[in-house]
């Protein structure tokens, strides 16, 4: 019968593995977008598209500044660098100044429609009935010094409205000047030449980032060798990403090597044979295969975050295998099956409570947490089945000779918690723990600011600051999203609603500038309105005077018919307006970008509640998402603990359940408090670690509670092994320099140590026999009783 179950389980695993192989062969459908992690009511495809488009645009931008002693030196080096970078085919150079060619293209796009184009300042004057000032301004330019006087222009545009419109176009200001085809800037000591490039292809692709960085490094090193004193600075998301990932990869490979070697050494050293190691790898391996196959079948795809966290959570299953293997140390000899029977109640109850804890994650309306829950519950069931059905079959009856020494150490640990001798020390510990927890909770502060969770290279940050200082303000990552049924509606909204608010923000200094699509291409309605204004407020009263002062005869009539307007579609197709394509994502879906954004909150407040206009702050939005997830995760951890307590109370009684839950709950509360006290603000990664911590440490407690008195040392030895392996895998992450990983790792490190130290306390919770016999069907351990 039993071997039938085992054979059936092997068949199930084989099916799961085959299904997984097929899915992997078709390309594992892993999702990486953040949208998939949002609660469905918060999902917004337009925002996501805009965020993607803007962040991709920003991420594609690369700026190099080459600083030389002289103009010639800087230009030569910059040209060399540009050529080297371009030769890779990964970057295309762009000039961001308006060169003569671009000006010509702008002129031929706008020229025919000039009667509908007015600079905002001129328009305001005309509306206010101050057309004379507009006329005077043109005359002042013509008769003053150095006016941009052009006779041909003057003939068709005697009020010089088009040059005024051009100079009011909101191209981002920078201190870079176009000097003979190169963007140049002089500071006190050096001549700086900028090389601006755009990444070709996917800026977030790791291999692309590496190639670009390598090409830059090689070229820069060669240039600096040839010209001592040459300074080369760089700015671009690819550099930060590359530095970040290469640090992370280096660190991850070090940590995982230590973890793997340590775990193998620990298990092989403890058992002095290889078999337990293989058994445990089999348990976790089958768990992950089954979880992957099951989740893919359930959801169709899997988010990469769910995969990562889920895999960690399944790691708990390692403990069940270890517990089984540790029965080798049991002085009471037995066949593999007898040994399994002895620990069965512990691992049944342990896995049930763990599953309860993980399943609670599915209660939140967050797709990410739901996937993690399903993934880890399936994985746990599979791991459990493997321990129960396969391990005894694979095992041989054996005992370990070096057991007495280890078991002696375990005996001492129990004595500390039970012996009268240590009573005062225990009381002191209790008071200290309560004090620390209270102090920590009083100082609780959550911080899910994404910028604090990345470790940005300080050298690159310095270069970024240098470049920003040299060239002036740069484009902000935050933006406004204008959504309307069509372009015309969107443009009108930008003119009538957005622009006045932007003006107020500029006046208050919250931003230094902004680009709206409507500033480049006014709505058709606005263009018609401008045409009327020009006729009534300018031509009729002042045209004759203007011409006579300028000594011109009244000849030319405007070349464009008054009703013609320039459409956004045509302007986009002409490619004549730089920036415009970045601002228009689709019909009616427009982006407004900011320069010199100093007060994002002011902008957010200003546009709150404006229909069809949204302030998008990708970094803040991600931080807010993490905030939500953190809050839910903490809440669900508390709920899990409560459910566990209620479930365990059926077996241990209220008081007993309290004793069993004491170590895990203390590990969570005291551990978090300690981390807060040493100055770690609480974040999402701490919260996720708590989910794992609760299930892992409750297992320790249950193993201890379930073990009969004569077997306690063996159980505690198994718990020590489990705790050590967990420390080697998760606790080691506390050594990470990536703040997110560090948060997770340090929570695990402190929590596991505490729970391990406190685990013997759980033996005070004893299964109450009356409870069990009274409600046999409701017994969470009826599976355990079957094998007993």
């Amino acid at each position: 019968m039993r071997s039938l179950f085992a054979a059936a389980w092997v068949a199930v695993v084989a099916v799961a593995a085959a299904y997984l192989a097929v899915r992997v062969h078709d390309g594992l459908p892993l999702r990486t977008d953040l949208l998939a992690l949002l609660p469905s009511e918060d999902q917004d495809a337009a925002v996501q598209r805009a965020t993607d488009a803007v962040s991709r645009q920003l991420a594609r931008r690369v700026v190099f500044l080459v600083g030389g002693e002289s103009r010639v030196q800087a230009r030569a080096a910059a040209a060399r660098l540009a050529a080297d970078i371009e030769a890779t085919g990964l970057l295309v150079p762009v000039t961001r100044g308006l060169d003569a060619d671009q000006l010509k293209r702008l002129g031929s796009l706008y020229g025919p429609y000039r009667r509908g184009l007015l600079a905002e300042a001129d328009r305001d004057l005309l509306i206010a009935g101050r057309g004379e000032e507009v006329a005077d301004k043109a005359l002042a330019q013509m008769f003053g010094v150095g006016g941009i006087a052009d006779g041909n222009l003057l003939r068709i545009d005697p009020f010089l409205l088009l040059p005024s419109f051009f100079s009011a176009l909101p191209f981002p200001l920078s201190r870079l000047k176009l000097d003979d085809g190169m963007l140049t800037l002089d500071d006190d000591h050096k001549v700086w030449v900028a090389v601006v490039g755009l990444v070709v292809g996917e800026p977030f692709a790791l291999d692309l980032q590496e190639k670009i960085v390598r090409a830059f490094d090689t070229s820069a090193a060669a240039l600096q060798d040839a010209t001592p004193g040459l300074e080369i600075k760089r700015l671009g998301a690819v550099f930060f990403a590359e530095a970040g990932s290469s640090t992370a990869i280096r660190e991850a490979s070090t940590l995982s090597t230590i973890s793997m070697v340590g775990t193998i050494a620990l298990i092989v050293g403890m058992f002095r044979r290889i078999r337990p190691l293989l058994h445990n790898l089999l348990v976790v391996g089958i768990g992950i295969v089954a979880a992957l196959a099951g989740s893919l079948a359930w959801f169709g795809n899997l988010h990469v975050a769910a995969l990562l966290f889920g895999t960690s959570l399944i790691g708990v299953a390692f403990d069940y295998g270890l517990y089984y293997s540790s029965t080798m140390f049991d002085p009471a000899d037995g066949t593999p099956r007898e040994r399994l029977r002895r620990i069965m109640p512990g691992i049944v109850l342990g896995s049930l409570t763990t599953m309860l804890g993980y399943a609670a994650l599915a209660l939140a309306p967050f797709p990410g947490l739901r996937q993690i829950a399903v993934f880890s519950v399936i994985g746990l069931v599979a791991a459990f089945a493997t321990v129960v059905l396969l391990l005894p079959a694979l095992d041989r009856k054996q005992t370990v000779a070096h057991a007495p020494l280890l078991l002696g150490a375990m005996k001492w640990a129990h004595a500390f918690w039970d012996g009268e001798r240590w009573r005062r020390v225990r009381a002191l510990l209790l008071i200290t723990a309560v004090a620390i927890t209270a102090a920590g909770f009083a100082r609780f502060r959550a911080d899910n600011d994404v910028r604090h969770m990345q470790s940005l290279s300080p050298a690159l940050l310095r270069e970024q600051e240098d470049i920003q200082r040299l060239i002036g303000t740069t484009v902000a990552t935050q933006f406004l999203l204008v959504e309307a049924g069509d372009d015309e509606t969107a443009l009108r909204r930008e003119e009538t609603v957005v622009r006045p608010l932007l003006d107020r923000l500029e006046t208050s200094g919250a931003i230094s500038g902004a680009q709206t699509p409507a500033a480049f291409i006014p709505s058709a309605a606005r263009q018609r309105d401008n045409q009327t204004l020009m006729r009534t407020a300018l031509d009729v009263p002042f045209l004759a005077r203007q011409r006579s002062v300028l000594g011109m005869e009244a000849v030319d009539t405007p070349t464009s018919t008054p009703d013609e307007t320039l459409s956004l579609k045509d302007a986009l197709a002409s490619e004549a307006v730089p920036l415009l394509r970045e601002l228009v994502l689709g019909p009616g879906l427009h982006v407004v970008t900011f320069q010199g954004l100093t007060d994002p909150d002011a902008v957010r407040t200003m546009f709150a509640g404006i229909a069809g206009v949204r302030f998008i702050d990708p970094t803040a939005d991600l931080s807010a998402l993490l905030d939500k997830y953190q809050y839910r995760a903490v809440l669900l951890t508390a709920l899990s603990a409560l459910l566990m307590f209620l479930g365990l109370a059926r077996r241990y009684g209220w008081k007993g359940s309290g004793w069993v839950m004491l170590p895990p709950v203390t590990a969570i509360c005291l551990g978090s408090a300690m981390l807060i006290l040493i100055g770690q603000p609480f974040n999402f990664f701490h919260a996720m670690a708590l989910v794992l911590l609760l299930s892992v440490t409750s297992d320790y407690a249950i193993f201890c509670a379930e073990s009969p008195a004569y077997q306690r040392q063996v159980t505690l030895l198994a718990v020590s092994l489990a705790a050590l392996t967990t420390l080697l895998s998760f606790g080691l992450l506390a050594a990470s320099r990536v703040p997110a990983v560090f948060s997770f790792g340090s929570t695990m490190l402190v929590g596991i140590l505490l729970a391990f130290f406190l685990a013997p306390l759980a033996t005070r919770g004893k299964p109450s026999l009356s409870e069990r016999s009274a409600h046999p069907t409701a017994d969470p351990c009826n599976v355990g009783r079957l094998v007993r």
Binding site: K137, A140, G144, V145, K177, D179, V549
Partner: protein, 196 residues
């Protein structure tokens, strides 16, 4: 010790004009003819100017249209009836800083600031001199000037500026006076306003 600079001493034969000293102010009248492609008659204007070395140039057009233009290294500001109508920082339009350097250089005889961008040729005939400036680079779109020709004896008398598109301005300077009195309050206000 530096020798005191006296008015009317034309010691520097190479430049033709004695460069203005600190604290001196140059005043005079001008007539401007602006020849523009596409217009049959040149635009004529006249007025007066004040040059305060190191500070800026105030250019008051009186006819046919009264407008005051103040140029400083920071940029250009135009006022009409004491109301500012145009402000162009040189950061926004780099040519503005060259324009100031050119006009103040021509009037004060200090051509040094222009040497980086222009090739300078000098001719002399007795007390009269002629200076011709041509941009060192001809393909720079930010350089709207093709040639500058300056003529004078003790001070600058005539200036011709040929733009890249063939348009040209002809300026005649009259009644020039070098004064050691400080600039007037109104002039200081204009310079201060344009200088930041």
């Amino acid at each position: 010790m530096a020798a005191p600079i006296t008015l009317g001493v034309f010691a520097d034969a190479a430049s033709g004009i004695t460069p203005l000293a600190e604290g001196q102010v140059l005043r005079g009248r001008f007539q401007q003819l602006r020849f523009l492609e596409g217009l049959q008659a040149p635009l004529k204007s006249a007025g007066n100017f004040t040059l305060v070395p190191g500070r800026g140039l105030i250019w008051r057009t009186e006819t046919p249209f009264a407008v005051t233009t103040v140029m400083t290294p920071a940029g250009l500001v135009q006022e009409l009836n004491n109301r500012e109508i145009v402000r162009m920082p040189s950061a926004r339009l780099p040519f503005m800083s060259k324009l100031y350097a050119m006009l103040s250089g021509a009037l004060s005889g200090d051509w040094d600031p222009l040497e980086s961008a222009f090739q300078i040729t000098r001719q002399e005939e007795g007390r009269n001199w002629r200076i011709r400036l041509e941009p060192t680079r001809t393909d720079d779109p930010a350089m709207p000037i093709r040639t500058i020709i300056a003529r004078g004896s003790r001070l600058l008398e005539e200036l011709e500026v040929v733009k890249a598109n063939g348009d040209h301005d002809r300026l005649v300077f009259l009644n020039q006076k070098l004064e050691s009195t400080p600039p007037r309050a109104e002039e200081l206000r204009l310079l201060d306003n344009a200088g930041h």
